[in-house]
């Protein structure tokens, strides 16, 4: 990131938008140890021009992290009243543009800049924090009869097909902002952020099923008798985030797997009652009531046509 350019833009925004007190206040919010009078060398009773205040702040915050933290505070107070006036950031779009060019977007919930995920898809979407519990939607995928396929096919064909399958799943998952957290070779667990992710998980499931023949025609290297078919289940619940995503486990992840193992049918999607209740109304028409598991209704999509 071109820090010098960022500082130039930021200085311009600060001078146009804030008075000295506001600049000092925001800097103090970003770093409680910041003291404008002390850092600038001006005495307590001397009025500091806003341009000088802005230059002092930009000198004080040196690293990329510190500057982004300061800008986060600036964004947080935009439109709010501080130090005797409402802060309105003028020409904020210049900052937005520069940050977007650097793949960064402001997350108001976290009050920090996160990677936009356009270029790099982080397993934590750039926002999940280690050890914290989050609401997530889970999609479990499993190839039907994979052990039988391994017995009847050459090892290299199996390896290539499974590699292609993961690539196929990954492409569709990325499109709907899902993250493959665990992959077992013949299937895996895909996570989606919060309750809104349920609808995305269903859309991923539908797209996978409808494009599965394309995969079989173009990327399946097994014997021609062996077309790949899959079972899927979707559930919504909680899990504690770990940067080692392979190690993430929770009761809800376990339940997602159980639904797939116990109720899954080839080329069908099993949906838990929780997920069914949370999904968009437009998606409910795809599912029919199927079974009951521990007092929880289970729904199924198995009418591919």
């Amino acid at each position: 990131m071109d820090l010098r350019r960022l500082k130039r833009i930021l200085k311009d925004v600060l001078i146009r938008s804030c008075n000295t007190e506001q600049i000092a206040y925001i800097a103090r919010e970003a770093d409680p140890n910041f003291n404008l009078q002390k850092v600038s060398g001006f005495g307590n009773h001397v009025v500091i021009p806003r341009q000088t205040a802005a230059e002092v702040v930009l000198d004080y915050f040196q690293s990329e992290y510190q500057i982004l933290n300061f800008i986060s505070m600036l964004y947080y107070y935009d439109g709010k009243g501080i130090s005797g006036g409402i802060l309105h950031l003028k020409e904020k779009f210049k900052l937005d543009k520069f940050l977007m060019e650097n793949d960064l977007i402001y997350n108001p919930q976290l009050n920090k800049f996160v990677l936009s995920q356009k270029e790099i898809k982080q397993k934590d979407w750039g926002i999940l924090e280690e050890g914290k519990e989050y609401k997530l939607s889970f999609l479990d995928i499993d190839i039907v009869g994979s052990s039988e396929l391994i017995k009847t096919n050459v090892k290299i064909d199996i390896e290539n097909t499974l590699k292609n399958f993961r690539f196929f799943i990954n492409n569709i998952t990325d499109e709907f902002d899902g993250r493959i957290w665990q992959w077992y070779g013949d299937g895996g667990l895909i996570a989606f952020l919060n309750e809104f992710g349920v609808s995305n998980a269903i859309r991923v499931g539908l797209k996978i099923l409808y494009l599965l023949p394309v995969f079989n025609f173009t990327s399946n290297q097994l014997r021609w008798e062996n077309n790949i078919s899959i079972r899927m289940s979707i559930h919504f619940g909680y899990a504690e985030y770990k940067s080692e995503v392979n190690l993430i486990d929770s009761e809800d992840i376990h339940l997602t797997r159980t639904l797939e193992h116990q109720f899954g049918l080839p080329n069908a999607i099993i949906l838990s009652e929780t997920a069914y209740n949370l999904c968009d109304n437009e998606l409910k028409k795809f599912f029919d009531y199927y079974n009951i598991y521990k007092n929880m209704k289970i729904f199924i999509f198995n009418k591919l046509s």
Binding site: L206, K207, Y210, V214, F217, P266
Partner: protein, 339 residues
């Protein structure tokens, strides 16, 4: 009546056969790919009329020999060049027709006129040949013939790797017709008809994008349907395109509060004489795919003909199931997701 067809392009035969069977059932057709075979045959069997392509070896020599043998001939060619047409007529051709015009009534009328005019033409031709030209005539005649042929070579010198369709040339292609019909449930869902029209246009546009990503070319576009072409060997691509379009339609449906969003795709392989005016292309394959997407039940969304089915590999064949009743006398297959 005997008509000889001298054309190296074999794919045009089907058109001639169908055309003469319908319009002139008593005409006997013979097809020749090379001039040697052709002249061997006319040495003992004189045809009443010859239909010849211009693009044959030693074209003008062939024309001269036909003229001197009092054989009436019509040039049916993919070449549409003023010089070539004039030179052909100068060298004895009774008429000249561009292949893209074959489907129109021109061809039928040209033939009828030729049949009716044959005795008179022969008399005129005999008279013409009996009159000697000036010695200098040959020099300018040769020069003009060479210029015409050179201009032809320049225009034909196109990079073969670029898929450029040449006007009048016959191609065997795979035709995919996709139809996204507007039906009552859709009309009642969208309060404003303009909104439905806008959405419908967007769906078609996206479907066309999918086709183009798979190297298909859109030839015909109608209000609720379009036809795309794929090269002869790419018989799998139209199937893949249909599947991707269906996946897209399901995504659209997942955002709408309606029970279904209909889509019908049909694929057939056939030959076509290329014309820039694609709305008037003559090809049975396009007609058939349009009839299929109009008339076949929407219970299944993808239908292929037996021509396509036979070419598929066993893995792909597993997804296609034969329809009980043939469609317009042809066996057809529908696609199902469970192989």
């Amino acid at each position: 009546m005997n008509i000889f067809v001298l054309d190296p392009d074999q794919s045009i035969d089907v058109f001639y056969k169908n055309f003469f069977r319908v319009e002139f059932p008593k005409v006997e057709l013979r097809f020749f790919r090379s001039t040697n075979d052709f002249f061997d045959t006319i040495s003992y069997l004189k045809p009443d009329l010859v239909l010849t392509e211009f693009e044959i070896p030693n074209t003008f020599n062939v024309f001269n020999q036909l003229q001197s043998n009092q054989i009436c001939f019509i040039v049916v060619s993919r070449i549409f060049s003023e010089r070539i047409i004039v030179e052909s007529l100068k060298h004895g051709a009774y008429d000249y027709i561009h292949k893209s015009n074959l489907k129109f009534d021109y061809f039928k009328n040209i033939l009828i006129r030729a049949f009716l005019d044959l005795p008179r033409w022969q008399k005129i031709n005999t008279e013409c040949l009996s009159i000697q030209t000036f010695p200098e005539y040959q020099k300018y005649d040769e020069s003009l013939k060479n210029l015409a042929l050179e201009s032809l070579q320049t225009s034909a010198n196109i990079d073969p790797t670029i898929p450029v369709f040449v006007e009048g040339k016959t191609y065997i292609l795979n035709f995919l017709t996709v139809r996204i019909p507007i039906y009552p449930e859709l009309l009642s869902y969208f309060v404003a008809e303009e909104e439905l029209q806008r959405m419908h246009a967007e769906w078609l546009k996206k479907a066309i994008n999918i086709i183009e990503q798979l190297n298909g070319i859109i030839w015909i576009r109608k209000s609720d349907a379009f036809t795309a072409v794929f090269p002869q060997k790419d018989y799998l691509r139209p199937i893949l395109a249909s599947l991707e379009i269906k996946a897209y339609i399901v995504q659209v449906l997942s955002n709408l509060d309606i029970s279904e969003l209909k889509i019908l795709c049909a694929i057939e392989q056939g030959s076509v004489v290329y014309s820039k005016d694609k709305e008037n292309l003559y090809t049975e394959a396009i007609n058939l795919t349009y009839h299929m997407v109009e008339r076949l039940p929407s219970q299944y969304y993808l239908y292929i003909t037996e021509n396509i089915y036979k070419m598929l590999d066993p893995r792909t064949k597993k997804y296609f199931f034969k329809e009980e009743n043939p469609f317009k006398g042809r066996a057809i297959y529908h696609f199902e997701y469970i192989s």
